[in-house]
Every structure is written in C-alpha cells, then in structure tokens.
Symmetry: C2
Subunit: 382 residues, 2 copies
C-alpha cells in the first residue's frame, strides 16, 4: 500500500476529491446551455478571485500559454517592453518577448530579491509599451509587492502585465484597484485544480493595445475567445478541456464557501508556521520579504548537504514532494510549497517528516523542535 | 432524472467510465518516475495508433493548437504552401498559414467533395514547401484518401502535413508507410478521451525543416517538448494536464484491448448501419466516398425542414446530440457522429429516436424502417 504523494510543490498541488470527481463527470457538449453554465461559473469565479470586472479569457493550456497570450495580443515587433525579473519565470517572460521580436529591457534582480517600485520608475521611458512582472516567483519563493509597483506604472502609458500563475488565490491581487492590464493565471496552484486551464484578465487599455498589435497569433488570439465567451451560452472557439472546466467549477465552489479573505489568511498562517519551523531547526530562509512569501518557502540546504538529497529522501520515505532548487539554485536550496489544498495538519506532518530526513542525512536535529514552532504559530493564530 | 446527453457529434465524444475515473485519480507530480511512466504509455500508444516510429510530441491544447504547431515549426514567412481544403477545417489551415505570413495556394473543393491526388499533383510546384490537408473533414463528413495523395507528395520536397484530429482511431492512418511528415491529432474523438490534449507525429524530414524555420513560437515550439519527452522519465516543458494524461493512458489501454483493426472495423460497421438507416428513411447522404466516411455521416435535411430543427428536437426529447450543419451548410444538413465509444446498440437507439423526431416534424416516416436497415447491416456483419 502506498498513499498518493503529497504535492507540497509550487504546483501542481493536491486536488480535493470533490474536484476530482467533478472532472470524472460525463462529458458535456461544449456548445449549448450545459457547458455554457459551467463556463459562466468559471469566468465569474475567476473575476471574483482576481477582484476584477475585466474580461476573463480562458484557454486550454498551461500557465505559460497564458503568459505567451499576453505578449502576442498586446504588442508588435520592435515594441519596447520592460521585464522585471526576480527569477526563473522572469526569464521566461524575457524569452517569450525576445522570441516575438520585442525590444526588451530587463531589470535583472539577483535571485531572492524582490522587485522595487523605485527601480521600475527609474527604468520606465516614455516609449515603454509594457511592464511585465511576476506576482509570485516560484523559483525563489518571493512575492513581489505588486500594489507598490502598480503605483508607478498606473499613470504611464505602458501596459501593466502580471503573471499571477502561482500567486493567485494565495496572495491578494486586486486587478482593478491596482490597475493591472493583463493578469495571467493558471488553475493548478492555489485554485486547487488539475493543470490544463490558463486564463487572462484583460483591461480596456489592453484591448486598445490588442487592436493595433500585429504579432501573429491564432490559438492564443484573444479576439475569438472573447466573442465565444460573450455568447448567451459561453463557448470557446476551439474544443475546450470540458472535464477540467467541470473541475474548476467545483474548485471555485469550494473557494467561495471558504471566502477569499479566509483563503488568504489560511495561506498566511501556513506559511508562517513553515517558516517558524525550519528556522527553529536552525535552517536559513532565502528570499526577501518572507511575510509576503505565502506560496512557497525557500530554504538554504545545510552546509554539506545537497538540497536535492533532502527532497529525494523525503519523497522516497514519506511520499511528500518538496521541490528542489531550479536553475542557479540547483542543489543549494529546497522549496516547500504550501499553496492550495493544505491545512494545519499537513504542515505538522511535513515538518515532522522533514526533521527525520534531515537527521538521517546527518544534520543535527532536535527532533520535534520544528513541529513545536509550527504548533506555536497555530496556537497563536487561534 | 435526466441521463447524460449522448454525444453523437463529431467531438467531443462520450468517454468510458474507466477513463473518467482515471482522470479523477490523485494528481501525480509532473516531474519524475510517476508521471514519466504515464506519459511514456501515452506516447507509445499514440505511436501504435498512428502506425509510426516518428517522435510524438504532446501539448495541453485543443486539436487546433496541434495544427498551429505544425505550421509554426515547419515554415518561415513567405514559404509557399498548398492547402487542400474540403471544408471548414481546410479553411482553418488556410487561416493559420495566412496568419503566419505564408504564401498560400488553395485547392478549394466544393463542400462534400473529397480531395483528388491528380489535383494535388497538378498544383505542386518545385518551390512548394508543404501540403496541408485533412484526413477526416468533420464539417462535411468526408474522409480523404490520404494514401492516394501521399503517393504524389511522397517524393516531392514538400512536407506532407495531415490533420487527423477527427480521423485518427476511426479511419486507418499509416504515418510511416504513407510518408506523412506531420500528423496532428487530438484525443476527444475516436480515442474516447476528454478534450485537452493535442499531439503531432514528426518525421525526420519535418525535423530538418524545423531547424531552418524562423516563425516565432514558444508554447508550441517542438524543440523543448522533444527534449522533455526524451528524458528517462518523460516530462513536458510546461506543466501538462496531468489528469488528462491519466485518462489518455486508460483510453489507450481500452483501445489496445480491442485491437486497432477491430476498432477500425467497428467504425466501418457502425457507419454502414447509420447510412443504410437514413437511406431507408428516404433521406439523402451528402458527400463523396461514403464507404470511407466512417467518422461522421452528413445527411441532407428533408425539403421544408431545417436541419437544426432536427438536432434541437432530438436533443430536447431524447438527450441525443447530433451536430447541425456548419458554415455554408447551416440548416441544410445534420450530421451524425459515430466515432469513439459507440457500439451497435447506440446506433439502433439513435436511429429509432431519429425516426420519431422526423415524424414529429412532419416528415413521412415508416416507423421502424431505419432501424430495420441498421439491423440488416449488423446481421450481415455477424
């Protein structure tokens, strides 16, 4: 007997049984009232989570497809854009922009740093057409202060484009209040859904840019998607992943029952407990602004122990999957995802298992010390 | 009580309970041996169905995304391509090619016609870089004789690109024997799966073209997908629709149990029965080469009755979904999909229900005549 692995990764994350079972419902025909009602629930739910009245456009794709759609629908070759990069997904935005022939300026922060509004203000020029940034950067765990940065972009002609694939639902994102023109999301993180649906929230200003954008696009073209989504029975231009939309509808129902503020508070508390626990074990947190980093906690591997050895042993012994370091942090860190379908008991379990694994790898652990620190956080949270 | 609708459409099609339940399995982490084994089964299964040793590349996307990937990975702006169009999806290939700035020549057949090898041979010029065609054209129901056409393309430098989204698994497609360079498929038709996975089989000649292709691409770029699929534990570069791959693995298992030749034979028999039944009711089949048209049967609406009225009433009264006419055939025809998870009893049921609906709409029906004709076909098939 082996229970399913527990995905404390930055995504995909565990999916509630109710959602999995919704995915197993018989296929609904994708044109007509049946699927129309499902898609409408999904669109309205995503507007609610994103705190926006902007159009939500959905795609059968990974989150990276939603990011690509933001680029190809807003710009034309040679357009000057500013990519604010704090890690791997910032590099992905650069790659996409360069692939499509944009004139890319990068604010390239050292990994672990968060973006600073003053740096963005200084890098903006009158001809900057877009600012692209991550909300949560899963490679380092940091969450950028999008609200602060929005203040320096809001009154500039540039579009403000935010990748919130791993942030949405865990860390607040107020699309309308903060003037975000394109927010690109995915369902497989805090939204507790199986991967396969990407989406964007598109502001009127972004639609204006769409009208003049000349970059080639077909599958990710926003125009046909809006036209289909706006039908009395919403549709998609190309056959959508019907089962996944049934799942998303169920996941949104769960999130509405919890309430979005409670969901954010849950993520804050879990993150605090994880951070307190690993610090109590003498480990070092990596990345600025830990209080904001509610999605993923990045931890420096102890001297002489490879971070990947920790994640491998934990997976083998306990079926708990943490993420190893990516890119330049390979081996040097490990990452604990605590976003999505997790509650306090999950954190207690994971910390206790981590203690045993660290001990086995020769790191001096006072067994139970991490657990006690997490317990303290939960006791205080009430 | 209302049972789920029966999707006798050209897709999506009904999904077996075993496959739906596989989709409801807990999420497997997308990097590592667990998902690797799933993806390997899917890739090998698709090679088996496509009768090819070429690379299979999978994407989380609709079938149209797989079609787009064929265009953006093989060509450069200004490349001359020949689109052989026999309906709506031929028009889609034209749209994609024009979107990406290709120099498009079209053999534009009247709807209902099949493509002729001689016409393709006549239209090929020394600088033609690609020939794009549908295997099964769902808007009209015709299935092109890809084998015959392959003979005139095979020794030409042009790439032979076949959209087999709705044909694959119902009508034979011998990718290697026929020299198909890119076959683009989807899972939501004869493969009995929920929509959301698109894929391509890529020949060495197509890989050569990839090397010089300058069209911009990111999400649909074949290079990173091949690199990920070729890992010891196959992966995808961007988070794949894990649940759908679990479903596809289960669907392929069912197809392997049936055997591909038996699957083709089942489709042939069901198609013959449907065609015999509607003809026995005095209705006219539309489209050339009906014996080959094993996926979808297109039927002219009787004088004075709108085709959409038939599909609407059948759906309302019996929960059976036929497809109405598309594009220029709107109202003039209706289409019965008999591809995927169907057997003889389903056809008998659908024909009997159709008889009642035609009668209610004022068309003179000898009740039971269509059913009797289908019964004859099945009796003869043994």
């Amino acid at each position: 007997m082996r229970k399913p692995e527990i995905l404390m990764t930055p995504g995909p994350t565990p999916v509630p049984a109710e959602v999995l079972l919704a995915q197993a419902s018989p296929i609904v025909y994708h044109r007509g009232p049946g699927f129309g009602a499902v898609l409408r629930d999904c669109i309205e739910g995503l507007q609610w989570i994103m705190q926006t009245r902007n159009d939500i456009l959905t795609f059968t794709t990974s989150g990276s497809g939603a990011m690509e759609s933001a680029v190809v629908n807003c710009f034309s070759p040679g357009d000057k854009v500013l990519v604010v990069s704090v890690g791997n997904f910032g590099e992905r935005f650069q790659t996409i922009c360069k692939t499509y022939g944009l004139d890319v300026t990068v604010i390239d922060y050292e990994w672990g740093k968060t973006a600073k509004a003053a740096d963005v203000a200084a890098a903006l020029t009158p001809d900057t057409k877009g600012v692209l940034i991550q909300h949560s950067e899963t490679s380092t765990g940091v969450v950028n202060d999008i609200e602060a940065i929005s203040k320096v972009v809001k009154d500039h002609p540039a579009l403000f484009i935010v990748d919130t694939v791993s942030g949405l639902g865990a860390s607040p994102l107020k699309v309308d209040e903060w003037g975000i023109d394109v927010a690109a999301g995915g369902v497989q993180k805090a939204l507790m859904m199986s991967p396969g649906i990407g989406f964007v929230a598109v502001s009127p200003k972004a639609w204006d840019a769409y009208k003049t954008s000349t970059l080639p696009k077909f599958y990710f073209d926003w125009g046909p998607v809006k036209k289909s989504h706006d039908l009395p029975d919403p549709e998609s231009p190309y056959t959508p992943a019907v089962s996944l939309f049934l799942g998303l509808q169920a996941a949104i129902k769960l999130l509405r029952e919890e309430g979005i503020e409670n969901c954010f508070e849950r993520h804050r508390t879990l993150a605090r407990a994880v951070k307190a626990a690993v610090q109590a074990l003498g480990l070092e947190l990596v990345g600025e602004d830990q209080e904001r980093a509610v999605c993923v906690t990045t931890i420096r591997a102890p001297e002489g122990i490879d971070g990947s050895a920790i994640t491998k042993l934990l997976r083998a012994k306990f079926g708990i999957v943490f993420a190893p370091g990516q890119g330049q942090w390979k081996g040097k860190v490990f990452r604990i995802g605590h976003l999505g379908y997790f509650e306090r008991a999950d954190v207690l379990q994971a910390v206790a298992a981590l203690e045993m694994v660290l001990d086995e790898l020769g790191y001096p652990v006072k067994q139970g010390a991490g657990v006690a620190a997490a317990q303290d956080v939960f006791a205080q949270a009430g």
